[in-house]
Point group: C2
Chain length 359, copies 2
């Protein structure tokens, strides 16, 4: 029997994926050339659907990589000469910082423990930081950085490049791309696709920066460097053979979400998040890991458990559902519940009913 | 109606892919965690099947990237301090060289025009080259470098690291991994899968080299650097979320090929190649682009055409088959025919019958 995956990615596949995959196989999308008009039409369609869904303006190109992790590297290489700045409050924001360090950048960080979030007023960006790297949704801790804070921060540091990790929340965050220079995600989270594709949104300002650095003989990388990605993007092509099938699937799922409407997708997400938080707040066997409501992720909910989380996870599994454990040192004392468009309010209720009985 | 793809990649899907994909969807492979035992079992299974198929010893790790192009970058970063050496005779061997240059390496090349191949006796590797980068099958020109020459060359320069691009030929070449330090391919060619996965085979010697460079504070990259890939590979995991679905499919197709037996797979490839070359040699409307039989690729056949190749391609398409055009300046005067395991001798005969009528 099939399980319902409430995991934070890879996650439950969006309910239309099987049908789209079938269509793709019938149309032999796995065999078409990435230099064909058919591929260019797929790339353009996916870009158009993402632009509509996430209000991404024409000033921003949309590019495909193997994963979002790859984009951490491309960002540091293509828009940092010397210094970057990172808000770190979990494993994934930390990894972005670590990538910049490994590439020889002077990476600054402002750090908080797992479970704590940042507010606009407390963030201080170092004077010489060229790039400000923010994480909209820290998957490891279930903490969000509100878009209103992201936008305020950019207004206070308007000359710096801003990049937003929305790996485990896109298309939920209503980012204002007139402010945000770059954002990125991977498709195995809220888009409900199998893993194997990263999506990089980058502005013309980021391109200019990469071109400057290249001209100044900085190593901006050889694979998927921004100027080369952009050059091919002009004709909806990619420098290397991309994951054509998943680009096709992403366009189709984005189209499905557009039919529902992004406002409805966001409202659904918020309502389901409310259901989950209300439950874990009211039940004595659980409590929200993140104390402040404004910092609580709407797409990945983390709860402390009274009993061993392994027990809870095992009982949930018996009922046909999969939830995640806590991250790192919280592995045995927390559960993580993804709240993506692929799981309905009815399925969330089904999960909460089981958690109710176990508790 | 479905077409038969004789293109050099993306190519015809191997005939079992649809069934494996169906099984994968039923088993929810697209949703399982890349930190689960189920994923580790898939990674191990795929490694075991590839080891059996291509006689890859335990001294060599097997890693997954987004594409083979990504591996060009990882190779230059992880095993070249100063100098590399490249045999260049087409677009793809040239790109490997260009990647090394872009990363600030002193990259040497020995170059020949498209359509010409290299023999062992004529290759001179510069004294200080640390890495010798060879292309077993130059996809753009349909030229092969025989494994016997590759092995002799390594014996003559035994202290240098040897890396072999077998993107459009694996698992055909019978490489001796007691000599070859690294080889790599992508799955959308002879393995008959959709594009979106690169496979990197690397020896312990390569790992040692990468670790030395890292210790000496060289930038070996932040994403998919060899020491990190190897660390996770110890438990059949990957540093970032990989393309789980395609790793599964690759293992399954490799298993299918193992059932046939690699000797039979190679013999079939050679027999079909003979059919195609014999045809284009004997028909007045075509001629082999590559003059010397020993340099003629067994997996990608390039033929000059008397009439415009666009005509030939269009006529073939009417008959339900897809072949490629020539590369670059040969676009209008050549056709390229992939000869991968996914297309049977009967299908090859069907193609030749159509080419016969057009000519």
């Amino acid at each position: 029997m099939k399980q319902i995956y409430f995991t934070a990615g890879p996650a439950e596949l969006y309910h239309t994926v099987t049908q789209h995959l079938q269509t793709a196989m019938n149309e032999q999308i796995g065999s078409i050339s990435h230099r064909s008009q058919k591929f260019r039409d797929i790339y353009r369609f996916t870009v158009e659907q993402l632009r509509e869904l996430m209000a991404i303006p024409e000033t921003h190109g949309i590019f495909f990589t193997g994963s979002a992790s790859e984009i951490w590297e491309r960002l540091a290489l293509n828009c940092v000469e010397h210094e970057s700045f990172h808000l770190v409050n979990g494993s994934f924001s930390k990894k972005c910082y670590d990538y910049a360090l490994a590439l020889g950048k002077f990476a600054h960080k402002q750090e908080k423990p797992l479970g704590e979030g940042f507010d606009y007023s407390e963030v201080e960006v170092p004077e010489y930081a060229e790039l400000v790297a923010l994480t909209h949704n820290e998957t490891s801790a279930g903490v969000q950085l509100r878009t209103v804070d992201i936008h305020k921060l950019k207004r206070s540091y308007s000359k710096k490049l801003f990049a937003v990790d929305m790996v485990s929340s896109a298309p939920y965050p209503d980012l204002d791309y007139s402010l945000i220079d770059s954002a990125y995600f991977s498709v195995q989270k809220a888009f409900g696709l199998p893993a194997g594709l990263g999506v990089w949104i980058a502005s013309e300002k980021l391109l200019e920066r990469a071109e400057q650095l290249k001209k100044a003989d900085q190593n901006i990388g050889a694979h998927h460097d921004l100027p080369t990605l952009w050059k091919f993007y002009q004709t909806y092509e990619t420098p290397a053979t991309p994951n054509v099938l998943f680009i096709y699937l992403l366009g189709k799922v984005a189209e499905d979400l557009n039919r529902i409407g992004i406002d409805n997708v966001r409202r659904d997400t918020e309502e389901k998040a409310k259901m989950i938080y209300k439950f874990i707040e009211s039940h004595s066997a659980y409590e929200p890991f993140v104390k402040e409501d404004r910092h609580r992720s709407r797409t990945v909910v983390v709860a402390n458990t009274i009993q061993s989380s392994a027990n809870v996870i095992a009982e949930v599994k018996k009922a046909g559902m999969v939830i995640g454990s806590g991250y790192g040192k919280f592995k045995d004392s927390q559960i993580r519940i993804a709240n993506f468009p692929a799981t309905s309010a009815e399925q969330v209720q089904q999960l909460l009913d089981v958690l109710q009985k176990i508790g």
